[in-house]
């Protein structure tokens, strides 16, 4: 499958892209998570306001740097978990996100995964320094890992660029040495 095949977004995705729900930074959020990376070109920020007693999400908002599916997926997940308990929110899957959107194109599944990863990382952040409830596994879930992997990809790309810079510098040095050599041989002529 190549990028030249037009993406078939359904009307729900386009509607949320045009009019996202719960959009914007929440200044007084209890927890937040920023996942994805600038290198990949898709990032999601999730902000949660949580009632400590009932452990319910009382308010939620998002910001997105990405494609239309990314914006729609993060918008729909905020609608899905608003008013839900943290446990219910934790159990939202990327497949449900995709279903709620009326189906994401296969090349855009990762947008749903990233949205779930963002939400889960925000929920995990909430329990930092607290006792982890039994429904949160100690090991990171695949969605959370996906969110982290994109951050790691950023590091890989940065290293790659550094190596490229070193190679260019070395080549330039070699070239200047060669030119220097030619000048020397040119003198006797």
């Amino acid at each position: 499958m190549s990028s030249r095949i037009p993406l078939a977004y359904n009307p729900k995705v386009l509607e949320l892209f045009k009019n996202p729900k719960n959009l914007g930074k929440m200044e007084d959020a209890d927890v937040e998570a920023l996942v994805g990376s600038r290198a990949c070109g898709d990032m999601i920020a999730i902000y949660l306001k949580i009632d400590d007693e009932t452990r319910t999400i009382t308010d939620v908002s998002f910001e997105s740097y990405g494609c239309a599916a990314n914006i729609a997926a993060s918008s729909i997940i905020t609608e899905m978990v608003k008013g839900k308990t943290l446990e219910e929110a934790w159990n939202a899957s990327w497949k449900e996100v995709s279903e709620e959107l009326g189906g994401l194109p296969s090349v855009k599944f990762h947008c749903g995964v990233l949205a779930v990863g963002a939400l889960r990382r925000a929920i995990r952040n909430y329990f930092e320094g607290k006792e982890l409830p039994p429904w949160i596994p100690e090991k990171l879930t695949p969605d959370e890992r996906h969110a982290l992997e994109e951050e790691q990809l950023m590091e890989v790309l940065t290293k790659k660029m550094e190596r490229m810079d070193e190679r260019i510098a070395k080549e330039e040095e070699e070239e200047s040495q060669e030119e220097g050599g030619k000048e020397k041989t040119a003198v006797p002529l």
């Binding site: 190549s2 070109g41 494609c67």
Partner: protein, 79 residues
């Protein structure tokens, strides 16, 4: 940006690798020392002899609007 502009009737292509299998931004722009956001933010527009001045004026009006709206959704501040 491609979706936003297509909703306005302007069809362009983007440097966003989000649609391809490889999630890497343009290696050419990166080699030109552009930042990741800049490399992802590149767009390609082509003109043809059939375009009119008013077509171009239309793009010049709605393109900045589109950029502004997409930026307002993003978690990055100051562009």
């Amino acid at each position: 940006m491609t979706v936003e502009m297509s909703l306005k009737g302007v069809y362009l292509s983007s440097g966003s690798a989000c649609t391809s299998r490889i999630l890497e931004p343009s290696h050419v722009l990166l080699a030109l020392k552009r930042k990741y956001e800049e490399a992802h933010g590149s767009v390609l527009m082509k003109t043809t002899p059939f375009l009119t001045v008013s077509d171009i004026e239309y793009v010049l009006t709605c393109f900045p609007e589109a950029v502004q709206r997409i930026r307002s959704i993003s978690p990055f501040r100051g562009g």
